[in-house]
């Protein structure tokens, strides 16, 4: 457990009334990472983040932030800031007073100047004197970031930061996160939006029903899927039979009107297939390589049969178990 590692989670378990919300989660966030904690709603992302911030007690496992246990003392949160679910403030106090309260409880001596700075960063300076009770969802999200920045964090934890924002607000929020990451701040952000994570994060953990089913880079995940080929011929049912008999050609599937889709062990196998098809009298109209979309992979991991069957298996970038990941035809 290194004091330099922003987040180190091992074997984390949290149960609610017999339901396992977080199931043996391991997670490592390295310095400078923009780490995406990705999964559908209800996958246990927020519960994990709450344990990392010491808000709830794990049933099993350990959490270390910069080498310290947030369950033991709030001192472990030194250098850590952020929010889980939506950031919450006192509705009857104005934005500035809410931030003053946060600063007072931080004990870092953040004064008027720092508060002005963070209000500028999130573009809320002109609303500083307004009660938070009248703020829109997007303004509260931004104020949440401002409150977090007051702690001068080395690790910023954000739970679904762009969720519920309008398209412009989403774009601004992502730009803000990119700017913060560019300063060298480590960011751990949860999201159910693949595109968001793809845009912002260098590493991801994909979680499904409380379990991490993939941890690594999105590029590695994409690479594990292999290339599929799309094939149309003058006689698709004969071509299907040829594909099934041809060495190096895997899982050919025939969809009426769309032709055949298959995976190949090598490009050589594809070239040989074209010969075999011609010999069999199924003349090629079209044969093209298609790349699996990240979205397909994500859905396969989080809701598809592979995810279901391999829930116990932990997929890692380039590891053997991801080769089971099927791409929906």
């Amino acid at each position: 457990m290194s004091a330099e590692t922003p987040v180190e989670v091992r074997g984390l378990v949290k149960r609610y009334d017999g339901l396992v919300a977080v199931d043996r989660v391991d997670l490592t966030v390295d310095p400078g990472d923009v780490f995406g904690y990705l999964g559908p709603n209800g996958a246990g992302k927020t519960t994990s983040l709450r344990m990392m911030l010491g808000l709830i007690t794990p049933d099993e496992g350990t959490v270390r932030v910069f080498g310290r246990d947030p369950q033991a003392s709030v001192d472990a949160l030194e250098g850590v800031a952020g929010f889980v679910e939506a950031p919450r403030f006192y509705p009857y106090l104005n934005a500035r007073t809410n931030l003053e309260l946060c600063a007072a409880l931080d004990g870092l001596g953040a004064g008027r100047r720092e508060i002005d700075e963070v209000l500028d960063t999130v573009e809320l300076r002109d609303r500083a004197r307004d009660r938070v009770g009248g703020f829109s969802h997007g303004m509260r999200q931004r104020l949440g970031i401002a409150g977090a920045l007051l702690r001068r964090p080395r690790l910023l934890v954000l739970d679904e930061p762009a969720t519920g924002l309008d398209p412009g607000g989403m774009r601004d929020m992502r730009q803000l996160i990119r700017n913060l990451a560019a300063t060298g701040m480590t960011v751990l952000l949860s999201s159910h939006l693949l595109a968001e994570v793809e845009e912002l994060c260098n590493r991801v953990a994909i979680v499904r029903r409380g379990r991490v089913v993939y941890e690594g880079t999105l590029a590695d995940l994409r690479a594990t899927a292999g290339t599929r080929y799309r094939l149309r011929t003058t006689d698709d049912s004969r071509a299907q039979a040829v594909c099934q008999a041809q060495p190096g050609i895997e899982s050919p599937t025939l969809t009426a009107g769309l032709g055949i889709s298959f995976q190949a062990a090598s490009e050589r196998a594809v070239a040989e297939l074209s010969m075999a098809l011609t010999e069999a009298g199924a003349l090629i109209i079209e044969m093209a390589a298609t790349h699996a979309s990240l979205e397909d992979l994500f859905f396969a991991l989080t809701e598809g049969a592979a995810g279901e069957g391999a829930a116990g298996e932990r997929a890692t970038g380039g590891g053997p178990s991801t080769s089971d990941v099927a791409v929906a035809p």
Partner: protein, 272 residues
């Protein structure tokens, strides 16, 4: 990066100062004696069957004392519960508990600050009520000497001192109610339930006193301690009920505070 509990306490007071609820409670504490004085001014009658009732028209010093008698059943417990029952539950309601617990303050500090803030408010409400009652009472009946429960004469100066001391003794059971209110606020996580629960506990304790066979319990009930101040208005002063009020109230308050603290320290903050 440790933050002192006094800082947290000051911010708890600041929150109270920014909430309508606080002014509702303090407003009631000031309004009731004024309404009482107005009623006295417009009619000659007085509640002669309660202690000091028959002196209401002869001195303003009687009004705060009669108010303490009337206020014990529900008024002061309600005013106390209004804030004590809300002070933790409101953070649950607003979802702000996670906001303050992810700064640099330990849970113990937040709890201690909240308990002290609720107590500060309760004492302020009693003090405000007492001062208003003396002012309103003397506006209607003038500031004259008082007759003690032993029938002896009490000068105005000594009367004022004894009224002030009575308010102090009266705050002892009020602080016990504060502790109960904070406990219910912590456990229920719901402001309305905690306020009503605190008030109900006051009423139920009053009910116990009229159940036959339980009269032996009366000296040890929280509600009984609201009468302890009357010892001050005897000649010589009877300290026994006051001493008993202190330890009986501690018997209620200390376990309530410990239970509330343990719940607060261990609970999962998973709402909001």
């Amino acid at each position: 990066m440790s933050v002192g509990t006094p800082t947290v306490y000051r911010w708890e007071l600041r929150k109270l100062r920014s909430q309508k609820r606080t002014y509702l409670g303090l407003g009631a504490a000031a309004f009731v004696p004024i309404a009482f004085a107005i009623a006295l001014a417009v009619q000659r009658g007085a509640p002669n069957d309660v202690a000091f009732g028959k002196y209401l028209h002869s001195t303003g010093l009687a009004l705060p004392l009669v108010l303490l008698l009337f206020g014990a059943v529900w008024m002061f417990p309600l005013i106390t519960a209004l804030v004590a029952g809300d002070i933790v539950a409101a953070e649950d309601h607003n979802g702000t508990l996670k906001t303050i617990l992810t700064r640099s303050t330990e849970r113990e500090q937040i709890f201690a600050a909240k308990l002290m803030a609720a107590a500060t408010y309760a004492i302020a409400a009693i003090a405000l009520s007492g001062v208003t009652a003396i002012a309103a009472g003397s506006a209607v009946s003038g500031m004259h000497a008082l007759t003690s429960l032993s029938g002896t004469h009490i000068s105005v100066a000594r009367g004022l001192l004894l009224v002030a001391l009575s308010l102090v003794v009266y705050s002892v059971p009020i602080l016990a109610f504060t502790a109960i209110g904070v406990l219910l606020s912590t456990v229920f996580r719901n402001s309305a339930a905690a306020v009503v629960g605190t008030l109900m506990s006051s009423l139920l304790l009053q009910l116990l006193t009229i159940i036959p066979g339980l009269s032996g319990l009366t000296p040890y009930l929280l509600s009984t301690q609201f009468n302890a101040w009357q010892g001050l208005l005897r000649q010589p002063i009877d300290w026994a009920p006051i001493v008993r009020a202190v330890w009986v109230c501690a018997l209620y308050a200390v376990p309530a505070v410990i239970a509330a603290l343990l719940v607060f320290l261990r609970r999962d903050v998973d709402g909001g």
